[in-house]
Each structure stands twice: as structure tokens, then as C-alpha cells.
Subunit: 319 residues, 2 copies
């Protein structure tokens, strides 16, 4: 197993020029006052497909040979990687088959289908993702674009951290939400290369200690799929490649309860005027509720990783 | 009566450096597809105080002499100019008295008071704004910072259009929401100076034909205060100075019904991931529903003028 390097991230940045959007870095004095820090919020909710996932998906799919593209691609995803692979396949002129959990947000499924992908559903609480994906690939001959445990995906996601550091300058802390670990492993590669003094902190749902367990025990650990609002962070484990990068490049992972995610969503809505989905607000939630250590006034970079939440669902959460 | 010029706008841009935020210009392929145009959305919802109004208010208040500042400032506003004058006064080290309608959104009132201003309420359906404001100024000796009928305010608001054109380049059409006319008169000065071929189109609520009547009849016309969701556009008339600029610099004003504003709010939320208040979405609403004429694929600049809407209210509108 090889792992990605910062060179891979820098190369991905060139591949993504004109495809992924260079999303804005938001600042907010009122959020700074709540956090006691100078926040730089990388707003990937404004990314194409509504989350950072297009970066890794396109970096992978655009690298494939013609004979692979003729067979098409397949992946498994609760929604954001699904949309990203669907769009990346469309842009590369190939077809995509996406396995999605039955309880994925309907908007994410509709968007995936709108990009022309075929969707098959599964029960995320009963079935093993890796086995399902391997079986679908074997059955169809399609090429697997894994959502996180993949070098080209990690390199693509790392461009989020690279752009954030380019725009915000040196950071004391970079706080990144963790599901399977694609975003944080890529961002950690960028941060430690560009600003070696930056502490990198991951945030996952309190009820899903997969990344914390992996770092504590020296390798990916499968935990029961948690019931959390953060549907993008319900994966049972981080990937092997992600763990390998995290073990050497991530300083700490903390958990955050759903109630604090809802508070962060409300502040983002009312103060920063930005629509973020629950998973995408988990990193900020941990910062705002004091779960990430830093000096008062520290320069803190935070990923807002996606914004794919239907108006009706967010309304209910904020009611 | 003198009117503002583009030089005043350019001077205001320098005054506002480090005070007003240079807000991002958003693009969205899915909104482009709905509009049949290449949209550049100037996102003033991300501005300090949540709307463009801080530009004009600070440009005015920061120009005042010490003896005027000692007496303090006064204004009348449904909410966004209220917050802006409150913050501008705080930044200039003076005090502000704000007259706000009884039915102003509670969040706007709370924010105004949070900036340290004193708020007095009035009945917007029964009382005449200009008379109330003149009486309050006479009674208190405070200096009036009018929300729109004011050269320094017009010049400050014009920096919205200036920044949009700097970032988006030449535009075929610039579409701006109109309440009292401060934003559109400033933006029209910028547009016609920087990109003379740009058509400038104003948008007001269907139920409030104040700007349309003013252009048709050669001067401000007072209309009954309308019941519209767009609380920032409920003023009964455009200002005299605003009309003077609009008559020579604005090509057309169109009306947009509330239902189309709600559709635009939903698209902004679900596709662009941005929280915009009803008044702030009126310009985009008119574009999306075909009320503004342009060639397919035209370069269309649109102001999203503010985002001060509480989560509960937007949830109810989108339910």
C-alpha cells in the first residue's frame, strides 16, 4: 500500500483547474466572538455538487484509461460522493453505478440521478459496504472509485486544505470533519507541508468513535453504524490509506454531539448566511463548543465540507 | 439638489476599505440553467450587518465633523439600514437613535440594539416616514442619515456595483432590487461609467409600483405601503436624489410577485447554499421568472442585497 504525498495534492490542484470551484474562505466577526478565535471557514458548500467530494472523484476518474472508462465506474456513498462520481463520470464521458443507503436524503439521491447515474439502494445498518461494493464491481466489470480509501481521492480532497492555507496564510489549527478520512488525510498532507506548525484536528460525531479508535489502536476499527444527524459521517470506519496518513499527520480527533452540530448550523444560517449540512458543520461545532484547544485569538481554519440539506430538513432541525 | 457621480462611488470605495467586506460574486451552473444566462450574484448577504447598507451608512457617518458626531445620528429604517447606522455610529464613536416600524422582523431590531443603538417604534402603515424622521431630528438635535435619499449613501451603495463589475467584467444586464433607490442609483452610476453598454434594470415588489411610477411620471410618487414579504422594499416612494440618478441611468424597472420571490429563495437555499432575505432575492426572482429581457447566455449581474431573515421565518416561507 502506498500513500499520497503533498506532491499528489499539488498535482491534483492542476487537474482540478476549471473543473472544481475555488470556493471562498468566509470570515465572520460574530462567529469569531463566539469561538474566541480568528476563523477562516472554507466554504465547500459552494462547491460543484454541493460538497468537496467532486475534487477527489474528478481527480480519480479523469486519470482513467479509455478501456477503463468504457466499462464505467461504480461506488458506494450516502450521497455526496455519489453526486461527485456521477458528475465526474459525466464529465469524463463514462457511466456510473452508485450504491446508496435506503435512508440517504432524497435530495442527494435525486441529484445523483440527475447527473445521469444509475442508483441501487442498500440497508446501511445491515449490510457491509466494502463487500457490497466489491460484489457490484465483480458483477459489472466497473472500476471502483472508493469514497475515501484511495490515493487519487485523498490527493483531490487535499486541495481543500491547500486553497485554505493559500488564502488564509499560516494557521495555528486546522479543524476538519472526518467520515472515512478522505478530506482530513488530504488536508493534513497540505497543512503539514505548507504550514508545518499547524495542528491538525479531526472532528467526528460523538456517537461514532471510528477515527478516535483508529488512532488509539494503530489501524482502522469498525464501529457500529451510528444514528447521527451527520449522515455524511455515518461510515463505520476510516480507510486504511486514510489511517496511514492520519497516524503521522493528524494531531488529534475529537467527538461532537448532534445538539452542538445543530447550534452550529443555526449560527451559520443566521450569522454567516450560509447553508451547511450537518456533517459539514461538525468541525465548526467542535470549535464553537470548546472541544478544540487553542489560545484566545488563534488563527483557526475550519472546513464547511458540504451544503446538501433540503430546506424542509434544515427547517425542522432549526425549529 | 446635487447628485452623486461615479467619482463619489470610487472615493467611497477607498473610505470603505477595511470596513465593508469585499463580498464574493457567486456563480451557479444550476441557476444559470434555470435563468438561461451566465449569472454573477453579488452576495451582500455576507456583508457586515448582513446587508449592503453598511456601505452607505459608514460612508456618510465617517464623513461627519466632530461637533456633529457629538450630537449623534438618527434614522428611520425597517431594519437593514437600522443595523448599518447602528454599527457605523459605533465605529465612529457616536450614538444612534433608530426609528423602526412596529412590525420590523424581531431579529433586525435585536441586532440594531446589539450594536448599541436606541430604537423607537412606529406604525409603518399609519405614519409618514419623512415627517417622523424630521420631527425626531428636530427634537433631539441629531444628524439625519437618510436610508437612500442622500449623496453619501448613494455613493457608498454604488461600491456594490463597482465591485461586481470589477470581478465579473462587462455585463449585458445588471439587475438590482429597488426599495428607496439607494442601491440601484449607486450601482447604475458605477455600471454606466465602467461598462457603458450594460442595461441596468431595477426590481421592486409587484404590489409596490413606486419606482415604476417615478420613472413614468418624472419624479417620486408615493404609493400605499404594500403588504409584501419583501420587508426591505416596503418604502412608499423612491427618493428625489435616487430618482434623479435613475431617470438618466436606469433603463427599466419591473415588478415581481411574492410567490416568485419565494421560489428564488428556495433555489438560492438548495442550489446556491446561501441564505437571502425576501427583499434581497427579488432581483434574482425577476431574472429567473423571465421578467428581465436578455439574449440566451447573456452575462447578467444580480444583487443579492441582504440575508437578514431568521431561520424560523425562512423555514415557514419554504415549507
Amino acid at each position: 500500500m502506498t500513500t499520497s504525498t503533498f506532491d499528489d495534492v499539488a498535482r491534483a490542484a492542476r487537474t482540478l483547474e476549471g473543473v472544481a470551484r475555488r470556493t471562498p474562505v468566509l470570515t465572520s466577526r460574530s462567529l469569531d466572538a463566539v469561538a474566541g478565535a480568528r476563523l477562516s471557514l472554507k466554504a465547500e458548500c459552494f462547491q460543484r455538487t454541493g460538497s468537496f467530494k467532486i475534487r477527489g472523484a474528478y481527480n480519480h476518474v479523469s486519470s482513467l484509461d479509455d478501456d477503463v472508462l468504457r466499462r464505467g465506474v461504480v461506488t458506494i456513498s450516502s450521497g455526496n460522493h455519489a453526486q461527485a462520481v456521477a458528475l465526474a463520470a459525466q464529465l469524463a464521458g463514462t457511466s456510473a453505478l452508485i450504491l446508496m443507503p435506503l435512508d440517504a436524503p432524497p435530495g442527494k439521491r435525486a441529484a445523483t440521478e440527475a447527473y445521469g447515474a444509475e442508483v441501487r439502494t442498500f440497508d446501511r445498518y445491515a449490510e457491509d459496504r466494502d463487500e457490497l461494493l466489491a460484489a457490484a464491481a465483480a458483477e459489472t466489470g466497473r472500476h471502483v472509485v472508493h469514497a475515501y480509501d484511495d490515493e487519487r481521492v485523498i490527493a483531490g480532497q487535499g486541495t481543500v486544505g491547500m486553497e485554505l492555507l493559500e488564502e488564509a496564510g499560516e494557521l495555528d489549527v486546522l479543524v476538519v470533519c472526518v467520515g472515512g478520512g478522505g478530506l482530513i488525510s488530504g488536508c493534513a498532507l497540505a497543512a503539514k507541508a505548507m504550514s508545518p506548525g499547524t495542528r491538525v484536528v479531526g472532528v467526528e460525531p460523538e456517537e461514532r468513535p471510528a477515527a478516535r479508535s483508529a488512532l488509539a489502536s494503530g489501524g482502522p476499527v469498525k464501529v457500529p453504524v451510528p444514528a447521527t444527524l451527520a449522515d455524511g459521517q455515518q461510515t463505520a470506519n476510516v480507510g486504511r490509506r486514510n489511517h496511514a496518513v492520519m497516524a503521522s499527520h493528524v494531531d488529534e480527533v475529537v467527538g461532537v454531539p448532534d445538539a452542538e452540530i445543530v447550534s452550529a448550523l443555526r449560527l451559520l444560517f443566521e450569522r454567516a448566511k450560509v447553508v451547511v449540512e450537518p456533517s459539514g458543520a461538525s468541525a465548526l461545532a467542535a470549535v464553537l463548543s470548546g472541544r478544540v484547544a487553542f489560545e484566545p485569538g488563534a488563527r483557526v481554519g475550519v472546513t464547511l465540507s458540504g451544503g446538501n440539506v433540503e430546506a424542509a430538513r434544515l427547517a425542522k432541525l432549526l425549529a
